[in-house]
Each structure stands twice: as structure tokens, then as C-alpha cells.
């Protein structure tokens, strides 16, 4: 990934509400892994802390992160050019 490129983090549910928009563009050099990407998300959008992400970028249940809406990932997994990380939360089960 080049230095001038970015990874687009899609936001849904509470994440979108708190940030006030549907995407966060994260500089690619700060998004080598899922963990790094989410730490950078915290830096760019501190409103996420407490409700969606911990201060270290860990998703707070019931929020979770998937690649392209389906791929389950762990913090250490690499993020590549073609990934579309999505920060999601589902509200269901009443």
C-alpha cells in the first residue's frame, strides 16, 4: 500500500451515528493490521470510544468488525488493498 492511499472503514449503526458519517478514510500506512486500523479510527474519531471501541481500538461488544461484510478478522490480521472493513452492530433478538 502506498503512503498516499487510504483504507476506507465503513461505519454502521452506532459507529455511524457517533461519527456523523458513513465512512472514515484511514491512511494506509496506519492500517497495516486490523488492530492498527481501529487504533487510528479512535484517533480520528474519538467519539467512538466508550460506546463502540475501547481506547486501544478493541470493539466493545456487541460491535464487531468484518471485511467486506463477511470476512471475520482478528486484531493481528493484515488489511490489504482490496479489503473493505466494516464496523457493524446488529440490534436484534427482543
Amino acid at each position: 500500500m502506498g503512503a498516499d492511499r487510504s483504507v476506507r472503514l465503513e461505519l454502521y449503526g452506532m459507529a455511524r451515528y457517533l461519527v456523523g458519517k458513513g465512512v472514515l478514510d484511514i491512511p494506509a500506512e496506519s492500517a497495516a493490521t486490523v488492530g492498527a486500523l481501529l487504533r487510528e479510527a479512535v484517533r480520528l474519531a474519538p467519539a467512538l470510544v466508550g460506546a463502540v471501541l475501547e481506547a486501544d481500538g478493541t470493539p466493545i461488544a456487541p460491535n464487531y468488525i468484518l471485511l467486506d461484510g463477511r470476512g471475520a478478522v482478528a486484531s493481528g490480521d493484515a488489511v490489504s488493498d482490496n479489503d473493505h472493513p466494516c464496523l457493524l452492530v446488529l440490534a436484534s433478538g427482543g
Binding site: M14, G69, R70, V89, A91, S92, G93, G94
Partner: protein, 595 residues
Amino acid sequence: MTPRLPRDLLEIDLSERTWSRSRLADAVFDAAPGGTALAVRLLDERVAGPLDPLGGENPLCFAAGPFAGSPVPAATKHALATVSPLTGLINDTLSSSHWSAALRRMGLAALVIRGRAEGLTALVIDERSVEFRDATALAGTSADAAARALRRELGDVRARVCAIGPAGERLVRFSVVENDGRQAGRGGAGAVFGAKALKAIVLRGGGEVPVADPEAMMRLARRLRERALGPKTAKYRVLGTGANMRVLDRMGLLPTRNFSAARFEGTERVTPERARESPESYVEYRAGCANCPVQCEHRYVRRDGDRRHAAASEYESTWAFGPNCGVDDLDAVLDAVDRCDRYGLDTISTGGVIAWTMECVERGILSARRVGIDARFGDARAMLALIDAIAAAEGFGALLARGVRAAAAEVGGGSERFAMHCKGLEMPGYEPRGLPTYALGLAVCTRGACHNRAATYDLDLRRPTASYTPDERARACIDQEDYAAAWDTLLLCKFVRDCFDDFWSEAAELLAAAVGGTWDAANLRAVAAESWARKRSINARLGWRPEDDVLPARLFEDALHGGPAAGLRLESATLEALKKAYARGRAKYAAAVVL
């Protein structure tokens, strides 16, 4: 500690116009402390074999939640168990609020109603008597209007009323029972009321609800209330379940046009989030159940509209009339939800039968002449007209009022392939082809295609690409079923499920504080497992067979196209393997139930 929980059972016979009140034994409460476990137990004791769900012999078994009327938040609820006119099997359903608390304030743990009244009747119940009141003047009214009229007639603004709307009176098999703006929704309990000529049940009077350990109760209830106001429920408080639409669309798991696709191009136009994000166009009203700090219901109406028609924007309802009918007009979807509430119709089933009609019209299986309107996907006007026809049980609406399974059986011509149901209950809004554990949960669920008796989609949604063995998926399904049975027995709202660190032991502590006795995680688990086993046992007596645990053919034959879940479909061999693993996991109940 001696249990002090209200523990009387009131039994009413509408045919004989008689009633009796008796005390339920300690042994009953040890095995079924309230809610679904108690309602199911009472049904179990009264269903000997197959019966006509719309006959007088079908009992309506209500049971209050053990925390109803107590300080425990998000827990003032009751359960209702009966035989569903849609499935012919058990229907255990839930509702909330003041009516639930009123049951316990009158010292009642449960209420059973049998028989059939001669004319439309309202039962007016207080601590000493039951009045069989003529309700013919209320015929055709909404549940809400009936409740207001009864309070006026009785001169009692504090009377608590549950009632049916016109759809229940016309025996629409997916009509609901409503109280305080909340509904016992799925499975057609409203039609069971209607068949009994029972319009409403009014509860009057009553005192305080005693609790066994007031100090512990206050401490534990306060802790839960604080947590319920924190980040764990923010998604419900701030957004409501309507926010699921964008999420499921992004995952490629949003059932669209009667499950013929799993992404909807109109999602951005019809998601309820659009109303919240457009305050210049819509007014939002918050609502919810009694004694709940979450108030998760987000109602919307156009700024220039009538606020009395502000419609609830829950995911399942807006999905049923939006993506599933191919309608991308948010105002029409909110109108559809509002009409269902006024008529007393279950939104998921109503959307399901309309989506099936639209697909049959598009495929030439049904003609516009037969339907009465050229109902095609995306046609909001046709959708609203069909809702009116179903509620009135008129024209083609009379056929749809019997549910999608019965309608497809009558129409034939291959329409059965597009009837999206399990055991007669129309499918909810999650695409099973991308969710194999959820598919198992739907197939084996005792009430048909219900997503709330086991949140088996959780495993699939959070780790969709993980591979699990059949035994692991079956274990997850069983655990989720028992977990849900515990919540439905305690009648805690599942929307506060993330507010517990260790649900089983914390819930047992709450239960002991409320009702007394010795409760721990182990005996609470036993109550949940027995509740499930009784449901399965009732179904076996009602004629359920293992081969009824099937899902619609299109889920196996048509792969999803487009989106992240493209190419996925269910495999028969996989589902069969999961069902076998499930039966092994449930084997300890083999003596009691057919697996």
C-alpha cells in the same frame, strides 16, 4: 425464605360463564417460576391431543413474568401460550407493560381462558369477581379504541386492557393481541381471541406486588437499570432495531422480494435511519414498555402528518414491507406498519403473504383479476390495498388471512415453492442461506420460523467465515434455545442481554430476591431446559413429526446472487447433519419427546 410471589391461577370458561380461583402449589413454582415456563406448563396440562386452534377447547394460558410490577427494569412482561391457528402447534408469545403488572397486583400468577362466548365479550376482572360484559358495541374497533372505550364505560382510567382489533375478530390467522401499545405478535393469538368471541380482558384494582427480599431487589434492580442506561443498550436507545437494515444489506443477508435476492437497491431510501437523519421531514417519538429505561421504540411521522399515526420503525416490520415487498417508499412502509397496528396484524406475516402474492403475480401463477389488483414487487399502493383486504378478510385477502402455507396449498400451480415459512409461520428478515446455524434454529424451532426463540444467527453473523462442526453448531443452537427459554421465563427483555456479566448466576440472584427460595444457575438452567422439552412434547401430541422441521425449497435450490454472500445456498445434507447433531444433543429428553 418463604416465597411471597403472587401465585393464584384464575380459570375462566367463556361457554359456561364460570370462573374459579385457586392457589398454585410450591412444586409448580419451583419448576416454572413464571413467564413462558409457567404458561407452557399450563398449556401442557390442558392439551391432550390434536385440537382445533379456533375451537373452544384451545386454552389461552397467560402467565406474568416473575419481575412484572417489581423494580426490575425491562421485565414488566407476560407470556401467552396457546395453539397457533397458523401452525397448529404451540405458540408461546410475549407482551409487556401495565397489563402484565396488573396481573400480579391482583395476586395472579396466571390466567387460563377456555370455551367460546355467545356474543362478543369483554372480561372485566378484579380481585374478587369476573364480569362477562357485552362488547358488541366494540365490534370492528382497534384494540386501542376498545381499551379507551372500556375505560370510559367503566369510569376507571387506571383499568388495564388487552384486546384484539378487527383482524382478530375476523379470524385472521396472524392477528395479534395488544395491550398498552405492545403486542403478543406472532402466531395468531388474536384469532384465538376472535374465535372465542373475546374482544378484551380488563384488569382492575389490585395492590402492591410483594417481593421476597426488598433490599436485595433494590440493589440488583438499580445495578441493572444503571447498566441498561449505558453503552450496552445504546444501539436500541439511540437507533432502534431499524438500523439493522443497512447492516444486513451490507452483509448481503437482507431478504429481498420474497427471498429472491439478499441485497436491496432501495435500502438507503427505505431504512428507518433515513427518517431519523431527516429531522426536517420527520418527527420522532420515543416509546417503549413500562418500567424500562431503554424505550427502544422509535416512531416516525411526516412533519405535516397526524402524530397519532406515527409508526413504529422496528427492523422486522420495516423489512417486511420494504425490502421483502420490494417497496422503497419509506412513507408507504410506515403507513403499512401503522395500518397493521390499527387492524391488529402481525407485520412479519402480513408482509410475508403479500410478498408471496407479488412473486406469484410476477411469475404468472396468480392473475391480477384473481388478486383484485396487479400486485407486483415495489407497488406500494397494491401492498396497502392488500393489507386492508387481509384485515377485512375480504376477496383475495380472505385467502391470505389464512397464512402463506394455506394460501399456497389452495392456489397450487407451483406457488408452494415461493411460500416462505417453516411449519406455517412466515419467515423473519434474516437470510438463512448465509447463516447455517440460524437455519438450524429456524428449522427446529417449536413455533415455526421464529428468530427470537434462539438467537442462533449471532454465531454466524459475528464469525461468518468460520467453520464449525455440526456438533458445535448444534450445541450453539441448544444453548441459545435454553438461554432464550430462561429469558422468556424471567421475562427479561433480551435487549438488555449485554448488561449481564454472568447471566445465569446474576439472573438467579434476581429471581431469588423477587420470589424467594433457593435459585442458582443450575436450577435456572433446568427450568429453561424443561420449558423447551414441554414445548416439544406438546407439539408431538398436536401431531408434529420430525419431517416438519424443514425450510423452504428455494433456500436449497437457488444460490444467492450478488453481494458478499453470493453463491451461498443451504445444502440439504448439511442441514440434515445439523438436525441429527441437534437430536443427539437433546437426547436426554428422548424419553419425553419425539426427536
